[in-house]
Symmetry: C2
Subunit: 304 residues, 2 copies
Amino acid sequence: MAITVVGSVAYDSIETPAGKRERCLGGAATHFSLAASFFTGVRVIAVVGEDFGPRQEAVFAKRNVDTRGIERAAGKSFFWSGSYMENLNEAKTHQTDLNVFAGFDPKIPAEYADSQFLFLANIDPVLQRRVREAMPGVKLVAGDTMNYWIHDHKPALLEVLKGLDILLINDTEARMLAGENNLVCAARIIQAMGPQTLVIKHGEYGASLYHKVDGRESFFKVPGLPLDEVVDPTGAGDSFAGGFFGYLASQKEQTPEVFRTAMFYGSVMGSLAVERFGTERIANLEAAEIEARFKIFRELTHIG
Amino acid sequence: MAITVVGSVAYDSIETPAGKRERCLGGAATHFSLAASFFTGVRVIAVVGEDFGPRQEAVFAKRNVDTRGIERAAGKSFFWSGSYMENLNEAKTHQTDLNVFAGFDPKIPAEYADSQFLFLANIDPVLQRRVREAMPGVKLVAGDTMNYWIHDHKPALLEVLKGLDILLINDTEARMLAGENNLVCAARIIQAMGPQTLVIKHGEYGASLYHKVDGRESFFKVPGLPLDEVVDPTGAGDSFAGGFFGYLASQKEQTPEVFRTAMFYGSVMGSLAVERFGTERIANLEAAEIEARFKIFRELTHIG
């Protein structure tokens, strides 16, 4: 079943110990939709400027991502530049130019209306809520956020959380949102805010699923892949979300086993994404590489 | 097959957010041998003072741990006091009194000579090496160390590493020992120092196994158990080592699958140990509790 995703389509300038790239295609909705496209149909809602041309369009087209919801506005696209020279787990932001994103007013094309799955990528919670309310009939809603919205826009974010089934968040953000250091207790506090399922990401240590099975608390963990080089962490979390939610949406029923498998596909896509700069790895991936990586995760975690 | 372990038998005064205990039985060899005793026979080499009495002796006796190698010396036993008030992952040491341990000269009882498995708990590498050399016929040798020995006694430690099959170490120590931040690269550097198998512990994030299967690099990961309360982390690493090495020693062959299962049993014993102060939990454990916890780890990590 098709996913509609709302979020940023942007240009990123990135420097890591492995090198640098100027103005490569990025943005949460881009990374999410490319990763999810290996599992199901994906429809994007975003805004870009006049600098978004046929070369960028072709990246989405190659993966059959529906871009009819990407609005073209006068001006420049969202631009971010950052580096990971000291710590691959945390970007140091050098510049953020919202550009056309500053006036973003998400419009949902009529063709997207039958989407059963909605992903609210990390944008202003006011916009997340607007899209959520415009698509009341969806079956499953997942969302992402970041420390800035938790810290400075908490009331708006709390409204969004009420409408989410699944929240994806990292450990620092989960602790900040819950005001609680123990992650099991933090997860319970966040579940009481709305989302019954939490995916907490631990950077190089993998990710945890906190949810309920038959009314009882249930946990599932996927480790980080041991990597001897991380070329570019940008978009790893969005690629994880794309693999996770894409797999969920591809399955008829979202059983506990489907959720566990989705955690693996999330980790597969996140671990592949960091092997090249920007979208280079996922945009050019073969389906067989996904299955090969899935097998590696299985061997990394399963006894027999 | 029986394990001989050399290390500290001590008294600990511990404060954590869950409370405090004065002079409870502790020490690496104590925690290790109690945990390992659920899997195989264990023989301890240590030194204690005149304050080590029948009550402490009874803790070992209940678990059938062979204490003939625990020497009684004039004076007081090793004493440590510390707290974990701000960070459950790292103890703040208030006091360390080596006492009789300062003059420890490990003697191996004749009855221990046929041990096939040797565990060198975290003590002065000069003593670790002496015990290793006195037991040249053992089949498998594992050892532990800590930042102090890595930083201040590196040449002696490097000699010990040459005689180890398995090194258990935490991430910070692994990075310090290898002089390398990426853990996969750090593991390779440490493997070149001697131990072909590394168990790297990640605190609440679990542990990783770095070894070789059919001459190829192989990895295995066990997550940390989601715990909503940690009563006392003291001895968690030694209990992990006891479960891990105890299970290995209990099996006829140490196949890759046995190593993976051993990582689970290590995590089982470590996660149980932190539920009470000192040795309280492991000393009073039932075998069925181990299997129940093993099942929880399996559900936490296995898809189907």
